[in-house]
């Protein structure tokens, strides 16, 4: 039973970055800008928040107020993501450049910049930023004492409990509310479907697209921090393709927040099965094949492909995404 709790807990911790980054991608695409730079945004968010965590650790502030320090780190990640994403907005909204090219440039810039910066700060070859251990929330934070043998519930909740999890779930609720229940959400969606019509009733399409991209930067940056925590081995100037994975989650989730939540859990489950395959008893072990764990590592990608192929008939992207808005075409 404990292994089941283990798997569930790992699924949640891996689903959180996918969820928040896919929500970010949704904000951007719903406003009409394809954000292929999510990978780069995640790296930049993770880089600056991890640098903050290290400095908080050194000053001793973090060990005394772990939750507050983590909250600040989340804000740092979001802020760094916003600033980085504005470069995408500048290229694709103001200058009407090709959105995939600008995004590709940012994706290439981010990991190189992270390596150069960590190399410059920590010395040659030292490109891993180690996250301090106090970021994990333990039972004692709630006045509980951890038992000797953690039961099912304790394992599920506290094995991988970080502040990013509740924050992202709150952000999901806010997203649902903002997209469907506010004037802003309606206008944002209008800009992604028919910007000419939105403009004709007095909505500033450029401003809304900037905001859409900036929100995706905020959420993407937080996702970068969440990923680095989930990966567990510190920040290594990469998020292992999670930004692109999140785009697939967004498409599978049909650009709708609650479906994205489901899709993120689905993908994370397969990802976890891939990495836990050796310790799950009921899976076939392919004993005649060398390095058979690659079969399970491949699994989430194959499942993604199959799901995309079978759901593609129903998938409905925002109509105007990818097309720079030109006022003179109204």
């Amino acid at each position: 039973m404990i292994i089941l709790a283990d798997i569930m807990s790992a699924t949640v911790i891996f689903a959180i970055p996918l969820l928040v980054v896919a929500l970010g991608g949704m904000f951007s695409e719903r406003s009409g800008t394809i954000n292929i730079a999510l990978e780069g945004i995640m790296i930049v968010g993770a880089l600056f928040s991890c640098l903050y965590l290290v400095s908080a650790d050194k000053s001793g502030f973090g060990a005394v107020h772990p939750i507050l320090a983590m909250f600040i780190a989340i804000l740092v990640a979001g802020l760094a993501g916003i600033i980085f994403s504005l470069f995408l907005a500048l290229a694709s909204v103001s200058l009407k450049a090709d959105q995939t090219i600008g995004g590709t440039a940012l994706n290439m810039f981010a990991p190189a910049f992270a390596i150069v910066l960590t190399w410059a700060i920590q010395g040659q070859g030292q490109t891993t930023i180690i996250i301090p251990t106090w970021v994990r929330i333990t039972q004692s934070a709630f006045g509980l004492t951890p038992g000797k043998d953690p039961n099912f519930f304790e394992t599920f909740i506290f094995k991988n409990f970080y502040l990013t999890t509740p924050v992202v779930l709150v952000l999901l609720a806010i997203t649902v509310f903002v997209i469907y229940k506010t004037k802003f959400g309606l206008r944002l969606r209008a800009c992604g479907e028919h910007p000419q019509a939105a403009d004709s009733v007095g909505i500033n399409v450029y401003a809304l697209r900037y905001i859409g991209v900036a929100i995706s930067g905020f959420l993407g940056g937080i996702g970068g921090l969440a990923f680095t925590i989930a990966a567990g081995s510190g920040f290594q100037s990469t998020v292992a393709g999670y930004g692109f994975f999140a785009l697939a989650v967004m498409i599978f989730g049909n650009w709708k927040p609650m479906r994205i939540f489901g899709a993120a859990l689905f993908f994370a489950l397969f990802k976890v099965i891939g990495s836990y395959s050796a310790s799950i008893p009921f899976l076939p072990s392919f004993s005649g094949i060398k390095n058979s764990d690659y079969i399970y590592t491949m699994l989430p990608y194959i499942v993604t492909m199959l799901v995309l192929v079978f759901t593609s008939k129903k998938s409905r992207a925002p109509k105007a995404e990818g097309i720079p808005y030109d006022k003179s075409t109204r």
Binding site: I36, F87, A91, L95, K96, A97, D98, Q99, T100, I101, G102, T104, A105, L106, M108, F109, P111, A112, F113, I115, V116, W119, A120, Q124, G241, F244, L247, A248, I251, I289, K290, N291, S292, Y294, I295, T297, M298, Y301, I302, T304, M305, L308, V309, S312, K313, G322
Partner: protein, 395 residues
């Protein structure tokens, strides 16, 4: 005579060349600022290495050419897809599968080098076909599909390699066996170029890839087939209306694009100086094809030069170790691509200024001959700006 010069100055090729040179210049300045920021006293040393290390010796030049060959092919792969309206971010997966096919053909089946290269092309074509079919039949975005197939390809190749003991090195099982020991005929011939340059890295691969680039140029610009592929890229609905089979063309252009990346993988690992490593991260060669293609605005002949340039500064970047990390080169390249995203804007601006001047002159002419037609200037303006738009990279 003057009209000829004017035509040359206004030609879209020249303005895109100037736009690329300007982006390269700004990218290098940005790189220098970064160097000065990290280590002010060594910054000139670093810049000197970036600019001149690639040409400092015959050995370095052959290293540049050696790395430029596969880069050129992945650049052609990405550029070909761009020309037909597709974004093939999966060149790295097709490159990996191509490399595996080439090594299998060379080491296990004992084929000669040219047959192994054809096998590599076949491997890349198969891996390019998947995103093409998904796009054509199921309308799944090719960017997502090719990313997924990058990882599937990498893991599938690793899994297969681990289970073919013949292909692996006896001492360290995570790499393929040395080609010189397994099958000498599978090594790409050198034609004495290695002696001329005094480096084992030198072989005829750069000549092969340049020939491939020219073939692709002819196919795209001089054949009906190439015209159809490009038409599908510019406007899919219009080309369907004109009787072009768009679905077939999407699959074909992804297959050709994948085949090009596949040859790239073959050409690198059949050089006899590289051994394929079983690792869990994607190979960068495929991703670096993207900047190569963008810098050349996907023009196959331009890709010959842009791949040489990128390979050149990469060799320079390796030479600035240990004072600076070689990733600075990636930063410079990314700045160059970011700026090249505006190059169409810049080109349009240059053209508009030129045509406005022309229009004014023409207007004066018309006034002088006292048969005023005000529409003239506007028509030429619109026609030329259309032309400049259609020259650029289309998504």
């Amino acid at each position: 005579m003057t009209t000829k010069i004017k035509k040359f100055v206004q030609s879209p090729g020249l303005s895109s060349f100037f736009a690329s040179v300007a982006s390269i210049g700004i990218g290098l300045i940005f790189g220098y600022i970064l160097l000065a920021f990290i280590n002010p006293s060594m910054s000139f040393y670093g810049l000197g290495k970036i600019l001149f290390a690639g040409a400092s010796s015959a050995e370095k030049i052959s290293k540049v050419l050696y790395q430029a060959a596969p880069l050129m092919l992945t650049g052609l792969s990405v550029g070909f897809a761009f020309k037909t309206g597709l974004f093939n971010i999966g060149a790295t997966g097709q490159y990996t599968v191509g490399a595996f096919f080439a090594l299998y053909a060379g080491i296990v089946l004992k084929m000669p080098w040219w047959a192994a290269l054809l096998a590599a092309m076949l491997g890349g074509m198969i891996w390019g076909a998947f995103p093409g079919v998904c796009k054509a039949l199921f309308n799944v975005n090719e960017v997502i599909t090719s990313i997924m197939f990058n990882w599937i390809g990498l893991f599938a190749v690793n899994l297969t390699l681990s289970n073919i003991p013949k292909i692996l090195d006896k001492i360290s099982a995570n790499r393929t066996v040395n080609l010189a020991a397994a099958n000498k005929s599978a090594i790409i011939p050198k034609w004495g170029l290695d002696k001329l340059f005094g480096s084992p890295y030198m072989n005829i691969s750069i000549l092969i890839t340049a020939a491939v680039a020219i073939i692709i140029f002819i196919v795209l610009n001089k054949t009906t087939f190439g015209y159809e592929l490009k038409a599908c890229g510019y406007n899919r609905n219009a080309s369907i209306y004109a009787g072009i089979n768009a679905k077939r063309n999407i699959v074909l252009s992804m297959v050709i694009s994948g085949g090009l990346a596949g040859i790239g993988g073959g050409i690198y690992y059949l050089s006899g100086t590289a051994q394929f490593l079983v690792i869990k991260s994607l190979l960068n060669m495929g991703f670096n094809g993207i900047p190569v293609a963008l810098l050349a605005t996907s023009n196959p002949v331009g890709i010959i030069f842009s791949s040489l340039f990128i390979s050149y500064i990469q060799v320079g970047g390796e030479a600035m170790q240990p004072q600076f990390s070689p990733e600075i080169i990636n930063i410079i390249i990314s700045v160059i691509i970011y700026l090249s995203a505006f190059s169409m804007l810049l080109k349009g601006l240059i053209n508009r200024i030129l045509t406005r001047q022309n229009a004014r002159k023409e207007k004066e002419k018309v006034l002088h001959s006292s048969a005023g037609n005000r529409g003239d200037g506007i028509v030429t303006d619109a026609a030329i700006s259309n032309k400049s738009e259609s020259e650029g990279v289309t998504k």
